[in-house]
C-alpha cells in the first residue's frame, strides 16, 4: 500500500481512486496521496478532504498544511443575510454567471444545526438549479456543528481546499445571524450582505455588526414593493456610519448624499451611485460600500453584482488592501489555532488534576478561588515558556 501511494503522489494518471482512507497504519502517506489526488483534480478527494476538515479527523491539520502552498489564487466572496433573503438562489445565479465566463466555482454553504441533537437539514443545495450536472461547480453544504469558534476555522480550511483544487471563484454563503457567522464571512475578501425589501427590522439588525463588514449591500427581490425604501434606508445607514470621518474630509460627504437622494428618488439611481464611487476609487480613503438591487430568481442585476465584486477586488489589489487583508486573516488564524491548542493542552491538564468539577467543588467549599486555580494550572506552562527564552 505504501509504495502504491508514493507512486500516486508523483504519478496520478491512474483512473481508479485508490483505497487510501481506511488504511490506518500508513496514515502519513495516505494524507499525502489524498492531497496529491485533490491537486490532480479529483472531486472525490476534494470532497473527502473537506469531510476530514469538518470532522477534525486525525491528520486534517497535516492535510491543510500541505494544501497551503497551493492556495492564494482564488477570489473569495462571502454572501450573508437573513433567512429567506434569497442567498442560495443568488449564489446559484452567481455561480452560473461565473461559469458562463469560463471560470470554475466552489461554494461552501453553511446552515445551522440543532444545538440539541446536532442534526441538520442542509437545504441550500435545492436552489442550485442552474448548475446541475456541472462538476465544475463544486457545491458543499456544511453545518454549524461544533461551532464554538471552530466554524470559521473549518470554513476557511474548506475554502483553502477549494482554492488549492484550482477553483477560480469561491463563494461562502452563511446566515448572518451571529458572531460565528460574521467570523465565517470575514474570511472572504469581498463581503456581500443581502437584504430583502420591507425588512425594516432586518435593516435595524444590520446595525449590530453586519453593517460594518459589508463591502456590497444587495437588496434582493428588488421587484417587490418597498425595495426603493429599503435601498434608501440602507444608503442612509451607511452614511450615518461614515459621518464621523466623512465630516472631517470635506468634499467626501457631498457627492454621497447626492447619490443617496438619487436612489431614494428613482430607479436610475444606482448608475449615478456607481459612477460617483468609481471616481473616488483613485482616492486613498478606501472603498465605499455600494447598494445594489437584484432579482435573484430571474437573474436581474447579477451582472451588476459581478461587476461590482470585480471592481472591489481590483480596488483591494491596487490599494494593497488585499495583502493587508490576507495578513490580518492569517494572523487571526494563527491566534485561533494557538487558543484552541493551548485550550486543549490545559483541558488535558485539568483532567489530570481530577477534572474541573473537583476543582469547582473546592472553590465552592472556599478552599481556594478560581483565580488561584487558574494560576496553579497555567503556572507550570508559563514557567516552561520562560525557560525556553
Amino acid at each position: 500500500m505504501t509504495s502504491a501511494d508514493r507512486e500516486i503522489e508523483t504519478d496520478t494518471d491512474d483512473e481508479h481512486t485508490p483505497e487510501t482512507v481506511d488504511d490506518g497504519d500508513t496514515e502519513d502517506s495516505d494524507h499525502a496521496a489524498l492531497v496529491a489526488e485533490l491537486l490532480d483534480g479529483r472531486h472525490r478527494a476534494l470532497a473527502r478532504v473537506i469531510t476530514k476538515i469538518e470532522n477534525r479527523a486525525p491528520g486534517y491539520r497535516e492535510i491543510v498544511s500541505r494544501l497551503h502552498e497551493h492556495t492564494g489564487s482564488a477570489s473569495v466572496v462571502g454572501i450573508t443575510g437573513s433567512p429567506g433573503a434569497g442567498k442560495s438562489t443568488l449564489v446559484d445565479k452567481l455561480a452560473k454567471a461565473y461559469r458562463d465566463r469560463g471560470e470554475t466555482v466552489g461554494v461552501i454553504a453553511v446552515d445551522p444545526s440543532s444545538p440539541y441533537t446536532g442534526g441538520a437539514v442542509l437545504g441550500d443545495r435545492i436552489r442550485m438549479a442552474s448548475n446541475v450536472g456541472d462538476m465544475d461547480v463544486f457545491f458543499r453544504s456544511m453545518s454549524a456543528r461544533g461551532s464554538l469558534g471552530g466554524l470559521s476555522t473549518a470554513t476557511s480550511d474548506a475554502v483553502k481546499a477549494l482554492d488549492a483544487f484550482g477553483k477560480d471563484r469561491v463563494i461562502v454563503e452563511t446566515v448572518g445571524a451571529g458572531q460565528n457567522e460574521v467570523d465565517v464571512v470575514k474570511t472572504a475578501e469581498t463581503v456581500c450582505v443581502l437584504v430583502q425589501p420591507g425588512s425594516g427590522d432586518d435593516v435595524q439588525m444590520l446595525k449590530a455588526g453586519i453593517l460594518e463588514i459589508g463591502d456590497v449591500f444587495v437588496v434582493n427581490k428588488a421587484d417587490m414593493d418597498g425595495a426603493q425604501q429599503t435601498v434608501a434606508e440602507l444608503e442612509e445607514m451607511l452614511h450615518m456610519r461614515d459621518e464621523p470621518t466623512g465630516g472631517l474630509q470635506t468634499g467626501h460627504h457631498g457627492p454621497l448624499s447626492d447619490a443617496s437622494g438619487d436612489i431614494g428618488g428613482g430607479g436610475a439611481g444606482s448608475d449615478t451611485d456607481e459612477t460617483t464611487l468609481g471616481d473616488e476609487e483613485g482616492d486613498t480613503d478606501g472603498w465605499e460600500p455600494e447598494v445594489l438591487e437584484t432579482v435573484a430568481t430571474d437573474g436581474t442585476g447579477v451582472e451588476g453584482l459581478i461587476e461590482t465584486v470585480g471592481r472591489h477586488r481590483e480596488y483591494l489589489v491596487e490599494s494593497g488592501e488585499l495583502d493587508v487583508h490576507a495578513r490580518t486573516r492569517y494572523a487571526e488564524e494563527i491566534r485561533q489555532h494557538l487558543r484552541a491548542d493551548t485550550a486543549a493542552l490545559l483541558e488535558d491538564e485539568l483532567a489530570a488534576r481530577g477534572g474541573v468539577e473537583t476543582l469547582a467543588e473546592r472553590v465552592v467549599a472556599r478552599e481556594t478561588d478560581p483565580y488561584t486555580v487558574a494560576d496553579e494550572i497555567v503556572g507550570p506552562l508559563a514557567e516552561c515558556l520562560r525557560r525556553e527564552e
Partner: protein, 141 residues
C-alpha cells in the same frame, strides 16, 4: 471549548434524493426530518432529479448514506444509473445505498445484488430505518 475534543462522536451525513418523474416527496420529507432529529446531517435533493444530479450531490457532499425515494416504479432504470455514476467517481464502495418507496418483491433481489443495502417499503417504522443507518453507515473518517 477545545476544537480537538468537541468532535467526539462523528456525524452521519445523508443525502435524501428524489429521482425521476414522481412528484411525491412527503415520505422523503418525513425521513429527512426524522434523520435530522436523530442527529444526522441531511441534505435534501429536491424533486425531479436526474441520476447524474444525485451522483454529483453524493460525491460533492461526501455523504455516508444515500437514501433514494422512488414511488414511480422506475427503480430498475434509475438505480443502476446512480450506482454506475458513484462507481465512476470511486464513491460507491463507501456509500450506504438505501431505497425507499414502492418496490415489488420480485425486484428486491436484483436491486440488492446491484448494491442497494436495504429497501424500506411503506409502513416501515422510522426507528427501524434510523437504527439501520446508525449501525451500517460506513466510517469514512
Amino acid at each position: 471549548m477545545s476544537t480537538q475534543q468537541e468532535q467526539g462522536g462523528r456525524t452521519i451525513r445523508c443525502l435524501i434524493a428524489k429521482v425521476g418523474l414522481d412528484g411525491h416527496d412527503r415520505g422523503a420529507h418525513v425521513i429527512a426530518r426524522a434523520f435530522r432529529d436523530a442527529g444526522f446531517e441531511v441534505i435534501y435533493s429536491g424533486l425531479h432529479r436526474a441520476p447524474d444530479e444525485i451522483v454529483q450531490a453524493a460525491v460533492q457532499e461526501d455523504v455516508d448514506v444515500l437514501g433514494i425515494s422512488i414511488l414511480s416504479g422506475a427503480h430498475n432504470t434509475l438505480v443502476p444509473k446512480i450506482v454506475g455514476g458513484l462507481e465512476e467517481y470511486g464513491a460507491f464502495e463507501d456509500t450506504l445505498l438505501l431505497l425507499g418507496g414502492i418496490v415489488p418483491d420480485e425486484d428486491r433481489a436484483e436491486l440488492k445484488e446491484m448494491g442497494v443495502a436495504e429497501i424500506f417499503g411503506p409502513g416501515t417504522p422510522m426507528e427501524e430505518t434510523i437504527e439501520f443507518v446508525a449501525e451500517n453507515a460506513p466510517d469514512n473518517r
